[in-house]
């Protein structure tokens, strides 16, 4: 198979914390009753 072709560096995706993520979820549809 030979050596793997070099890949370009991956871009680090900054992540929010778990709590911040929950706040971002405001657009999500509410539970039906």
């Amino acid at each position: 198979l030979g050596p793997r072709p070099p890949t370009r560096p991956r871009v680090l995706l900054k992540a929010p914390t778990l709590a911040e993520m929950e706040e971002m979820n405001i657009s999500e549809e509410e539970d039906s009753p």
Partner: protein, 394 residues
């Protein structure tokens, strides 16, 4: 037999294509509405995690950072949501714990980081993420897994708590050992334990049910070990605390019964191949309390033996047990005040907290050792029962 001639398996690249507008449908069908007891029973362990990862791979392949972010956010929030809704159901919590860990392992295994690729096949290496480094998201998912683990332990504790007192202390499997029963015991407990619902055997059955559910869900063996260690800690702590608060539990015969019950728990560990998970060691304070109920408690030599034997008990626990010790027949004596003073003097220099009761809510820190999978992503097929027909194998 239907023959699928559309594409050969080797032509697939282990990705799942989906439209942005289908993302909500994806998490709804795969996370929010998936019943671990229904459809999920027949799935390969960790399938939801693999499906989500294969969708993520496609978003990464498109170099669409927004698509990657929203998929990860929706996934994490949906898992949190389902656990909020069904957080008291052991099967749901166990199912999402194992899938969250599998998703975390996939993020590592296919990250492109060589430390996580040691066991990858060349084909698996071709499936690594190409555009994005998701190290920060891995941390968030690891935090989520910790939350789910703690939820799982709360579920277990809630189920086991009542069983422990009856199974470990009240229910007597060794016939004729206790001699005279402490007055009032039967009467007081009859309403709850009337039909012996809670016995050591039923508690062991419950432990087996937890264990087999986790195995069915494909939970990492190292994680199962940590759960079992925590279960044994809870059993030991709840039993010891009840013993320390109840005079009717501090007798020679109860010591005998507890030792027998501990041997049954050990047998259970052996049967499940879990002798090396540290569970037995968590029972040490209880084992020593049971021994303390059974040893002689009269001479200076007895005091010395007790002090060197009971290293896992605090001084206040030892003194409490000696104070509560109740002879059940005429051949036994109460422990003398002088003997208890001797013990106190001998243990005076021990540096320890004056703790009497054990903290039954304590949870050992959990770790999720990396556990790569040999499964080839390109071979994964999605059962129609999952209602994910809008995903396209790529």
């Amino acid at each position: 037999h239907p023959v699928n001639i559309a594409r050969r398996e080797k032509d697939f690249q282990g990705m799942l294509e989906y439209k942005k507008e289908d993302e909500m449908k994806l998490v709804k069908n795969l996370i929010l509405e998936l019943k671990p007891r229904g459809v999920a029973v027949n799935l390969i362990p960790g399938l939801p995690a693999y499906i989500l990862f294969m969708c993520l791979r496609h978003a990464d392949y498109l170099n669409d950072d927004q698509k990657v972010r929203t998929l990860l956010t929706s996934t994490i929030n949906s898992i949190k949501k389902i656990l909020k809704k069904r957080g008291e159901d052991f099967e749901t919590v166990s199912f999402w714990l194992s899938n969250t860990c599998r998703f975390l392992h996939c993020l590592k295994q296919y990250s492109g980081d060589e430390t996580f690729a040691k066991h990858n096949t060349p084909r698996q290496n071709e499936h690594c993420l190409t555009n994005f480094d998701l190290a920060e998201y891995r941390q968030v998912i690891s935090d989520l897994a910790i939350q789910i683990y703690q939820q799982l332990i709360k579920c277990i504790e809630g189920t086991l708590h009542a069983m422990i007192v009856y199974g470990m202390l009240e229910h007597e499997t060794i016939q004729g050992v206790s001699g005279v029963k402490p007055t009032g015991l039967r009467k007081r407990t009859a309403s709850i334990a009337e039909d012996d619902t809670y016995t050591l055997e039923s508690m062991l059955r419950q432990l087996s049910a937890f264990h087999s559910t986790m195995c069915q869900h494909g939970t990492d063996p190292e994680l199962i070990k940590q759960v079992v260690k925590q279960e044994f800690y809870i059993i030991g702590a709840v039993t010891l605390n009840n013993l320390l608060l109840r005079k009717d539990m501090c007798s020679w015969s109860k010591g005998m019964q507890i030792r027998y019950n501990v041997s049954q728990l050990e047998e259970w560990l052996r049967d499940k191949g879990l002798m090396n998970c540290g569970a037995k060691e968590t029972l040490e304070p209880l084992i020593q309390a049971a021994q303390l109920l059974q040893v002689k408690k009269k001479t200076d030599e007895d005091a010395e033996a007790i002090c060197s034997m009971c290293h896992a008990l605090t001084t206040s626990q030892i003194v409490r047990i000696l104070n509560l010790y109740t002879p059940v027949n005429e051949f036994e004596e109460r422990v003398s005040i002088a003997f208890i003073r001797t013990i106190q003097t001998r243990l005076r220099d021990r540096s320890e907290s004056p703790q009497l009761l054990m903290d039954t809510k304590m949870i050992y820190p959990v770790t999720f050792p990396f556990n790569p999978s040999s499964l080839a992503l390109e071979t994964i097929q999605i059962p129609s029962s999952l209602n994910l027909g809008f995903l396209t194998r790529v």
